[in-house]
């Protein structure tokens, strides 16, 4: 996969030069047809497997998904005609499949006995809201560079969003929720986008200082003490989130995001080494006294230790069995027993249902879709003409990639499990809405990047872009 991208990237240099690029809107439309049809067939498949008949909501679901995708396509055609043609179909497909998987788990008697009601109708509503936000971003965000103006406001908003959950009671051991009037919001999902905006704006201004003023030590360029300030602040914040909200995932996500963006902005490898060292030190230090994190680490090292010691089947063990039982081709939609995972089967553990019912084949396909979406995002960063756009695009893409890695890796026991949602697929309104907004911003950046004759922007960045262009 990486090789194909390396070659692809070499070719992508040409996309930077302005010229008559095809808009690829018809490609997008054709892909969207598949992105709608595949989940509709999957939906029929579940209905036939579980109840032996075509599901009653088939027509409504198909029309609904088709309509949302159609409207999204038309708006992209109108407001971002040169946008990347693959992102919208991939997001639609992932969201559509997620809805099918959630509906499939709604059919489970086991989960119903646990008192879990139907989640698919709500999720459909959240998806619609997500697409509405997607459309709003496309329509009202004339140019992504406008976001640059809100650099420091973004910082404040992001900090507030991150700190807010501390004042709300923990839900299932993690303080990542705020509850307002019976509605739960996961602010971390939105903070992810907003903080990327802040980092992009901040680093665009500071990158020269960070990159050039450094001391050579043991063959490495080390940053000056005062330039270390921001990274230490972010690191401290991540550790604080980890300690007070016991949220390993969000902490990892923000720190990873910052290191990636810092590296891109400064081109200094030393930042990565620095970041990794700090991350390891922070993680080990917290793990040494935080029992919540310790038990996660133990489950990661040996997912079956609880089963062996007490005979109770816990989620990590149940998830491993779900993946293993799926094998290469999977049990078939509606025919697995991933509902044995019980709690969070529809949210954090949704990927285990992919593993069991669609098998290794399905898991690989879904991972490829995520990978493709991420690489399209980074390609957008490569093609972008302004450093802010580059930084924002790579930040959002990397955040997305890290999130997928953290969730899927946690569920598959590749890394310790953290409570995060699989973008677009997992049950949860905040996640699906935020990720649609994320894709909308990426589309907007790619539209600007691929637009044939760039309008002479009044932005002061143009000159900088000239300097930076490699």
């Amino acid at each position: 996969m990486s090789t194909s991208h390396a070659t692809g990237n070499t070719g992508s240099n040409t996309t930077i030069s302005p010229g008559g690029l095809p808009s690829r809107r018809n490609t997008e439309l054709a892909m969207l047809v598949f992105a709608v049809l595949i989940p509709v067939f999957a939906y029929a498949n579940v209905g036939l497997a579980v109840n032996g008949e075509m599901p009653a909501g088939m027509l409504g679901y198909g029309l609904g998904l088709g309509l949302m995708a159609g409207v999204a396509h038309l708006v992209v055609r109108r407001f971002a005609p040169y946008a990347d043609p693959l992102m919208l179909p991939i997001a639609t497909l992932l969201n559509g499949l997620g809805l099918v998987l959630i509906w499939r788990l709604d059919q489970s008697e086991r989960l119903a006995l646990r008192g879990e009601g139907a989640a698919a109708p709500n999720q459909l509503m959240w998806s619609a809201l997500g697409i509405a936000l997607f459309l709003a971003v496309l329509v009202f965000l004339k140019d992504h560079r406008i976001l640059q103006r809100y650099t420091y406001i973004s910082m404040v908003v992001a900090l507030v969003l991150l700190i807010l959950p501390m004042f709300f009671p923990a839900v299932y051991g993690a303080k990542i929720w705020i509850t307002i009037g019976g509605m739960s919001i996961q602010p971390g999902e939105f903070a992810k986008i907003i903080i990327a905006v802040f980092f992009a704006g901040y680093l665009m201004v500071k990158r020269d200082a960070l990159a050039l003023a450094s001391r050579r030590f043991l063959g490495l360029y080390l940053p000056r003490g005062r330039d270390l300030g921001p990274i230490l602040v972010i690191w401290a914040l991540s550790v604080l989130i980890l300690v007070f909200e016991t949220d390993l995932g969000t902490s990892l996500l923000f720190f990873g995001l910052f290191v990636v963006m810092l590296y891109v902005a400064t081109e200094r490898t030393s930042w990565i080494l620095f970041g990794l060292t700090l991350a390891v030190v922070g993680a080990v230090a917290v793990a040494s006294f935080e029992p919540h994190v310790q038990s996660r680490v133990q489950d990661w090292l040996d997912p079956f230790h609880t089963v062996r010691e007490t005979g109770d089947v816990n989620q990590p063990a149940a998830a491993m069995w779900a993946f293993g039982s799926g094998g290469i081709l999977g049990a078939g939609l509606g025919q697995g027993h991933s509902d044995l995972i019980g709690f969070a089967a529809k949210s954090d553990y949704i990927f285990a249902t992919v593993g069991e019912e669609l098998g290794l084949t399905g898991v690989m396909a879904i991972l490829l879709l995520y990978g493709l979406l991420v690489e399209r995002g980074i390609r957008t960063a490569l093609a972008a003409r302004d450093p802010f756009g580059k930084l924002l695009a790579v930040g959002l893409s990397a955040a997305f990639a890290i999130q997928v890695f953290v969730v899927a890796g946690g569920v598959m026991a590749l890394i310790p499990l953290t409570g995060m949602t699989m973008p677009f697929m997992a049950q949860g309104g905040s996640s699906v809405i935020a990720n649609w907004a994320l894709v909308a911003i990426l589309l907007k950046i790619s539209d600007t990047a691929r637009r044939p004759a760039p309008a002479p922007a009044p932005s002061p960045d143009v000159e900088m872009t000239q300097v930076v262009r490699s």
Binding site: H5, V313, W321, G327, I328, M364, L367, V394
Partner: protein, 487 residues
């Protein structure tokens, strides 16, 4: 800025590759292991997902399957006349797993056995549910029923074997249990199971006394001692033995006497067997010595486990000192035997000294009715020469004709037998075990059945407990059932 961007692209690609490698590892490399992990509930769900194959006796199924409600285990096992057949079938419970035939042939019964691969493949392509095969047993429903009913409320076991083939015809153990009562997975099943456990039920209904319990064999062991005597060449059937009455045990000051007032002094083997003279057989055992006695008992199958194919525990004839070895010759010392073992003794004698391997699985049949596996009778060895075996038969027939075993007589049929009454408990204060082993021979010279019966304790006066009164009628009922089936 593009160089670090490309590196980030590669880094993100590597994250995805790491996930893909991991999913290959857990779904492909470790897939089978995780899928078949016995603690993985899917294993049990699949196992109970379709009706189980049946265990067959006389062409009729003694087991069944029925759909359950309110659990993800769709089918559970049922048993017809479960108490009577439990020692044969064992159990297959959703909550407690399977034992005996249910466990040994689990693969055939669920359809998972490799030999049923072709059937499974066909079912898969024709869209049918997987089906299990059947286990056809050698048991005879009439013999089993006769034995089970004759045992009644008494605690004990009875084993019937066809001496010519080794086929097990009856396998009774009482008190028994109904494996249907805990075949499911509900709280009711848990309660039923708990009531049957040793700690809650002193009768130990789940103990398979026919195969898994050893008893002091008492006087029935005299048949083995007599076989050893004849085979050693030092004795003959009608030759007088030089035996005092009472007989003082070697290296001891204890005198061994005989029950009742019978001509045991210097009695020949035939007479000694007829009246079950302790003195004669204890002296023979002593004269042959511990080593020889072990050798001859092992010919009958002592000191080893037998698999029929359900495991039967080892019957023992251990190394011991002289007085104990002398007592072992009358089955009253450290030697112990399962009912199966004593049935094998009777069967080997009846079959002119040739011991057939006991078995109760006749055929394994695929759902398509193809025979997957079939048992062929196999000779385990010769316990005695044909000539000596016939002398043993004469002795045992004398016992039934005019000795201690007269209650086992059957009109028009030659019956050979041996009674036994084994003392047990400290100072023999507990009710003794009543034994009877026998065989029946029809006029055409064939021997369709050999039986061993043991009754642990019945609430009767101890004088009255001799094997002939309690155990012989059970053996007789089983032999008659087998003979009736032949006519």
């Amino acid at each position: 800025m593009n160089k670090p961007l490309r590196r980030i692209a590669i880094f993100c690609g590597l994250l995805m590759v790491a996930l893909m490698v991991r999913s290959n590892w857990i779904q492909f490399a470790q897939g089978d292991e995780l899928r078949n992990d016995p603690k993985n509930r899917r294993v049990a769900i699949e196992r109970y997902g379709q009706p189980r194959g049946n265990i067959i006796v006389d062409g009729k199924a003694i087991t069944g399957s029925k759909e359950t409600e309110g659990t993800d285990f769709k089918y559970k096992r049922t048993y017809k006349n479960g108490e009577m057949w439990a020692p044969v079938t064992g159990y297959a419970s959703q909550a407690y797993g399977a034992t005996q035939l249910e466990s040994i042939y689990d693969g055939i019964l669920t359809g998972d056995d490799d030999r049923l691969f072709f059937n499974r493949t066909i079912d898969m392509f024709t869209g049918k549910d997987q089906k299990g095969g059947n286990v056809v047993t050698t048991l005879d429903a009439d013999v089993q029923k006769a034995g089970f009913e004759a045992m009644g409320d008494k605690k004990g076991a009875a084993v019937a074997i066809n001496p010519e083939t080794g086929a097990i015809l009856g396998l009774v153990s009482t008190p028994s249990y109904d494996p249907s009562s805990f075949a499911g997975n509900s709280s009711k099943d848990v309660k039923a199971w708990s009531r049957l456990q040793k700690e809650n039920n002193e009768d130990e209904p789940m103990l398979n006394r026919a195969l898994r319990q050893t008893y002091p064999p008492g006087s029935t062991f005299k048949v083995v001692t007599a076989a050893a005597a004849l085979e050693s060449g030092m004795y003959d059937i009608d030759e007088k033995t030089d035996t005092p009455d009472p007989y003082r045990l070697p290296q001891s000051t204890t005198d061994l006497g005989n029950d009742g007032n019978h001509p045991c002094e210097n009695a020949s083997l035939r007479v000694a067997m007829q009246w079950s003279c302790n003195t004669v057989f204890a002296k023979i055992s002593d004269e042959l010595g511990n080593e020889k006695m072990i050798e001859y008992s092992e010919r009958f199958g002592f000191n080893q486990e037998h698999f029929v194919p359900v495991r039967a525990v080892e019957s023992v004839y251990p190394e011991d000192n002289r007085p104990q070895n002398a007592m072992a010759g009358i089955g009253q010392a450290s030697n112990r035997a399962t009912p199966l073992q004593m049935a094998m003794v009777a069967a080997a004698v009846a079959n002119d000294g040739k011991m057939m391997e006991p078995y109760m699985m006749d055929q394994l049949v695929a759902p398509s009715l193809n025979v997957v596996e079939e048992h062929k009778p196999r000779e385990l060895g010769e316990v005695a020469s044909a000539e000596n075996a016939q002398k043993l038969q004469q002795m045992m027939e004398t016992v039934v004709e005019k000795g201690t075993g007269t209650p086992a007589q059957i009109d028009g049929v030659t019956v050979g037998g041996k009674t036994g009454t084994a003392q047990h408990g400290e100072n023999n204060e507990k009710n003794p075990y009543a034994w009877f082993i026998s065989y029946a021979k029809t006029s055409d010279g064939s021997t369709p059945i050999a039986v061993a019966v043991v009754i642990e304790s019945a609430d009767v006066l101890r004088d009255d407990i001799a094997g002939s009164k309690l155990a012989a009628p059970v053996a007789k009922a089983m032999m008659e059932a087998a003979l009736d089936g032949r006519r």
